[in-house]
Amino acid sequence: MMLDRPQHLPLVADPAPANTVWRATSETRLSRVARIAGLAALAGLILLPAIAPRTLLQDLFFVFTILTLAQLWNVLAGWGGLVSVGQQAFVGLGAYVLFAAIGLGSLDPVSSIAIAAVATAIIAALIGPLLFRLEGPYFAIGSWVAAESLRLVCAQFKSLGGGTGMSLQSSVYSSLPGLKSVQNLFGVRPAIARDIVLYWIALAIVVVVMLAIYRFVKSRHGLALAASRDNDRAAGSVGVRTDRIRFALWVAVAGMTGAIGALAYLQKARISPDAAFSVTDWTAYVLFVVIIGGVRTIEGPVVGVMILWGLIFYLSQYGSLYLLVLGVIAILVMLFMPKGIWGAASHRWNVQLFPTQRRLFRNAYH
């Protein structure tokens, strides 16, 4: 049936809605449990350096950086429909800005990360209008070409090592915040204290980025972004400024990607254009994590990064065989679980730890 008896519709002059007949929420009982479990896990991760061996902290540093990049790509491509395969451009730019700020500007590492984020966002804002003239696959290819161009530009700076790259001196790390306290607290050498501080910075960034993304995709602007992705024309016809919201997302994601690039190369202490702008290290891994985990979910990249970490842990000794296995898994998951491992499990058992959908209910007493 088309409808029940037509009711009064508050289309034009609506009195203040004193009568809340309807309510909307994205929360579930499970999501509240998940929030508490998440906080407990976070507390455990913060305290982990007290007992964990150094290699585990270094592994987790890698996991956090890839997870942050994966969450950022997920919101950009999954929610925003901007399928970029050139995000390594912003990793590389962020890293180079950090090296320039430390090496040439003699700034401390933490301010340099902030500067890297801002500078990367500005460059993204400049190349965005060019890339946005391309759609779908053309946008993807364009983003890759932009990344390659930026790699070539960075290789021109002789003062930053040109094509061969440069290293950071270990004295740079002495100005990391809290380094002395960590040395005293845990009774460790400066090199280990450095890994602990960098681990905490990476943990802080991944947590803040995930919370910010979760809040964003549940917000009205997240809804508008998803609408623009699903149908640009229809989104415009209901009042959404589709270009503006995509541009803002692009710039914000690029800035945070730059910060991660800066942090990752601060830890590596050595940079070269080929490594910092590597499409394998900074885009293929990230896409693998999002796609096998589950696109358009907060949980998916977390699952994906654990799988990637496990594969690297067990297979890295076999050299190129490991990349082969990665590829085969990605293909199998795409064929048989197009929503990814978490996406398939979530669909099958109707489980969402971090639900993003708004659901409408009629209040019981009406």
Partner: protein
């Protein structure tokens, strides 16, 4: 300011794609609270007319005036916020969003109401358009008729002052069609002006105050519905009788 009762005016609107003329010197006036029907054969330029009014297409010539303001250069999203709501002939739902979320986008960005108001507004509209039980279903999984309902519901959620409806009665049963007519009458009571493109003429005639017949991008005739239906232009268009 002049005391003008017209809500929407099209003055000499023309549009051509190369040699194909899709709108030719169209003059149209919609008064406050008026309901105008648009008929015409396939390819007459009916949907094109909506695309011109809502800004999805820019006219080659002519002006569009909404309540005294020239909106000819205004982008579609600004026209929506200015009070122009539309449904699409081929439904364009946000497929990965639920029905309720589809409406929420329209309420938050078109009607620009608060989050709390949006929930109540969307709930009301869902119940009015018979989509309440599908509120939390993904729009992409809806069958065609529900997608058409969603088009109407989403347009309503922008709280339009002028509602442009593009063939929403096709495929409905008689009972459903009757209820649709009742709904549109109800919407009119709120002071919403309507332009309705429809092939289901009896539904159209049950609602509209005026009728326009389009053919080859031109207004063939317009006036009171009964007169237009009897006119020799409409006879010529539909029956092939020479005018």
């Amino acid at each position: 300011m002049m005391a003008n009762r017209s809500m929407l005016e099209l003055k000499g609107i023309s549009k051509a794609f190369g040699a194909i003329v899709v709108a030719s010197d169209i003059d149209l006036t919609l008064s406050r609270g008026e309901a105008l029907g648009v008929i015409g054969p396939n390819g007459a330029g009916k949907s094109t007319l909506f695309n011109l009014i809502t800004g999805m297409l820019r006219p080659d010539r002519g002006r569009i005036i909404l309540e005294g303001e020239d909106i000819t250069q205004m982008p579609p999203e600004a026209r929506c916020r200015a009070g122009l709501g539309r449904s699409f002939q081929i439904p364009l739902p946000f497929t990965h969003l639920t029905v309720f979320e589809n409406l929420s986008v329209a309420a938050l960005f078109g009607a620009q109401v608060s989050e709390a108001e949006a929930v109540q507004l969307c709930g009301e509209i869902l119940s009015l358009t018979g989509l309440e039980t599908k509120a939390n279903v993904l729009a992409g999984s809806l069958p065609l008729l529900d997608r058409k309902r969603l088009e109407l519901a989403r347009a309503l959620a922008t709280r339009p002052r002028i509602l442009l409806l593009d063939e929403i009665a096709g495929g409905l049963t008689d009972a459903e069609c009757h209820l649709l007519v009742e709904t549109i009458r109800e919407i009119r009571k709120g002071g919403v002006a309507i332009i309705w493109i429809e092939h289901v003429v009896h539904a159209l005639l049950a609602v509209v105050d005026g009728l326009i017949a389009l053919d080859f991008g031109k207004i063939a005739t317009q006036g009171a519905p009964a007169d237009v239906m009897r006119s020799k232009e409409v006879q010529a268009i539909y029956m092939g009788v020479p005018a």
